[in-house]
């Protein structure tokens, strides 16, 4: 019978999570040690920055849970104040399916966890600590994770300001490998935003800042080019994305600077991200054809909308999980999974 025991970001602070993290190189020994415990036949450890969970197969889950609990406290020197959540039988499977589907993640619907579970299972499988029950459970979880992602919108859209900016840039230009980015101001947020675009292929970064030394510094960090603040209007015809975050108390980008550049762009759109407060870009710029101006509120509103849409998908995701629990030869329907997201991680 199945057992799941562990802790996650929902109830456990990072100070504790970092103590119980099991690095990839230590996984084989750790899972082997678990299967040495009494009543533990099979074991997989899923250890990420947000969770550390042990999945085990045992003829007696309650006894095994006590042994695993004691092993954890002993290995990581944890006191009795640290509580592990625990699921057994179908609930353990429900929990894994929810985790694999991104329903239990800090960023709802994120996909990275799916790969992390695959890696964790592969490590345990290679160490020889999985057999019939956990093999079946994890294969099912991969299938369910895919089904949830393919049949719902749980992973669609962007949930942070930076990722919304990247999504919009891709919506406008497609492949960013042909795109040039210009940073006005050398703030941390604009740097992160530019790095996100760079990670998606944006080929050239131009940095312009009132303090030229700071521009040179940031350009060097990002493999870009620094220009003086007086030079940026001339570059508008050549760049595709402008990220503005100067500390100016007034607007610095005006329609009369953008219009002449647009004529030379021959129909190629211009995407301007204004993350400065007070705003750097005159809102009238957005009225120019071919220019898409997004300020921090517009980006945050889109991110928030996506987060809300993902929340709305939870019921449908849970229904898919229930359907698979019910149809799987490994499990029989038990009580339904709690329909509130918070309870996914909090239930013990």
């Amino acid at each position: 019978m199945l057992l799941c025991l562990g802790l996650s970001y929902a109830r456990t602070p990072v100070e504790v999570r970092e103590r119980v993290a099991v690095p990839g190189k230590d996984l084989p020994d750790a899972v082997k040690a678990l299967t040495q415990l009494e009543d533990v036949d099979e074991a997989v450890i899923v250890s990420t920055c947000n969770r550390m969970e042990i999945y085990a197969s045992s003829p007696s889950p309650s006894t095994a849970a006590a042994h695993v609990d004691a092993w954890l406290r002993d290995r990581f020197h944890l006191g009795s104040e640290i509580e592990f959540f625990q699921h057994q039988r179908e609930d353990a499977a429900r929990h894994l399916f929810a985790v694999a589907s991104g329903l239990d993640s800090m960023v709802l619907g994120e996909t990275e966890i799916f790969g992390q579970i695959k890696d964790a299972y592969a490590a345990a499988h290679a160490a020889g600590t999985t057999s019939r029950e956990l093999n079946k459970l994890f294969q099912e979880s991969f299938r369910v994770g895919k089904a949830v992602r393919n049949n719902t919108s749980i992973q669609r859209g962007s949930t942070s300001v930076g990722s919304v900016a990247v999504e919009l840039a891709e919506k406008i230009f497609g492949d960013l490998r042909d795109s040039q980015v210009m940073l006005l101001g050398a703030g941390d947020m604009s740097r992160r935003c530019a790095q996100s675009l760079q990670s998606r292929g944006a080929k050239g970064i131009i940095v312009s800042n009132r303090s030229h030394e700071r521009a040179v510094e940031l350009a060097a960090e990002m493999n870009g080019t620094a220009i003086t603040f007086e030079e940026w209007p001339a570059q508008t015809a050549h760049v595709d994305v402008i990220i503005s975050s100067t500390a100016a108390p007034h607007t610095v980008i005006h329609p009369e600077q953008v219009l002449p550049a647009l004529r030379r762009r021959r129909g190629r759109p211009l995407f301007i991200i204004d993350i400065a407060v007070p705003r750097d870009v005159d809102p009238l710029v957005h009225d120019i054809e071919g220019v898409y101006l997004y300020d921090i509120d517009a980006l945050e509103a889109l991110a928030s909308e996506t987060r809300q849409r993902r929340e709305n998908e939870i019921t449908q995701c849970l229904a898919i999980i229930e359907e698979n629990i019910g149809s799987s030869p490994l499990f029989r329907p038990h009580h339904p999974y709690p329909p509130q997201r918070a309870t996914l991680a909090d239930s013990t």
């Binding site: 393919n150 049949n151 719902t152 919108s153 669609r156 859209g157 999504e167 919009l168 891709e170 919506k171 406008i172 230009f173 497609g174 647009l262 004529r263 021959r266 129909g267 190629r268 759109p269 957005h286 054809e289 071919g290 898409y292 997004y294 517009a298 509103a301 889109l302 909308e305 849409r309």
Partner: protein
């Protein structure tokens, strides 16, 4: 019911199915342009090819002797161009907008009384005449696709300007790709129409002046758009709007040519 009508109805059903599937999955946010979409479109196109082949053999030339055949030929051209142009511009989703266009032309053709009339063999053959008609109709197919791409552009531009990204918008191709596709389709269509018009002047007997005038009007619209865009520059939005709404002129011209 004749076998010719049957294959055309099958083609229309394919386009309807493809469109229905795309709309449903777009609304659900789960659209994935895949083999099934392409297969459905390909089966529809194949049915029309079979019809055009049968009809061509019966009449002994290009089957463009009445409005029913003209509309079917355009519908077929749209699908063929979709398969050629779509991959070139990475616009797989163009199929979502192509299938209703192809369906519209095919249904319109089937509703015409000429669809029930038997094929009338041609008494005379003119290579230049058939080349003129075929190229003109294929060019209309290119303009129809440019119209579809233009509509997609306008929908996205509107949403991006409103700071919204609907689930449908997320799945549409990037507007820069659409801009390139519109330009490419307009140039392709105008080029084909130019050759079609030149072919008309190589015919032993010129087509009626009224028909030629109409074709010249269509050519002037698109050629001016391309020239203006190349020389003076034009915002992508205006080019898209012209491609989308300008397609009304070829549609009206078809009605006129079909009736005369």
């Amino acid at each position: 019911m004749s076998r010719e009508l049957l294959v055309l109805i099958l083609a229309a059903l394919c386009y309807l199915g493809g469109f229905g599937y795309a709309v449903r999955s777009l609304r659900q946010g789960t659209y994935r342009p895949g083999r099934w979409t392409l297969l459905i479109m390909a089966i529809g196109g194949l049915c029309q090819t079979v019809f055009l082949h049968w009809r061509g053999r019966e009449i002994g030339g290009c089957p463009m002797t009445n409005p029913f055949e003209l509309l079917t030929f355009i519908s077929w051209s749209i699908v063929v161009l979709y398969f050629i142009i779509g991959p070139a511009y990475r616009l797989s989703l163009l199929g979502v907008f192509t299938s209703p266009l192809a369906l519209l032309f095919q249904i319109a053709a089937l509703l015409l009384p000429e669809s029930l009339a038997p094929a009338v063999p041609k008494s005379t053959h003119s290579f230049w005449g058939e080349l003129h008609a075929a190229l003109a109709l294929v060019s209309y197919g290119a303009f129809a696709l440019a119209c579809a791409a233009g509509i997609m552009f306008l929908l996205q531009d509107r949403q991006l300007k409103q700071h919204r990204i609907s689930p449908v918008l997320r799945q549409l191709p990037p507007i820069h790709y659409l801009t390139r596709a519109i330009r490419g389709l307009l140039i392709t269509g105008t080029g084909l129409l130019t050759i079609g018009i030149v072919s008309a002047y190589r015919m032993e007997k010129l087509p009626p002046a009224s028909k030629l005038t109409i074709v010249w009007i269509v050519w002037t619209l698109y050629a001016s758009l391309i020239l203006y865009e190349s020389w003076r520059g034009m915002s992508a939005r205006r080019a898209a709007a012209t491609a989308a709404f300008g397609f009304l002129i070829p549609v009206i011209s078809l009605w006129f040519i079909g009736r005369h």
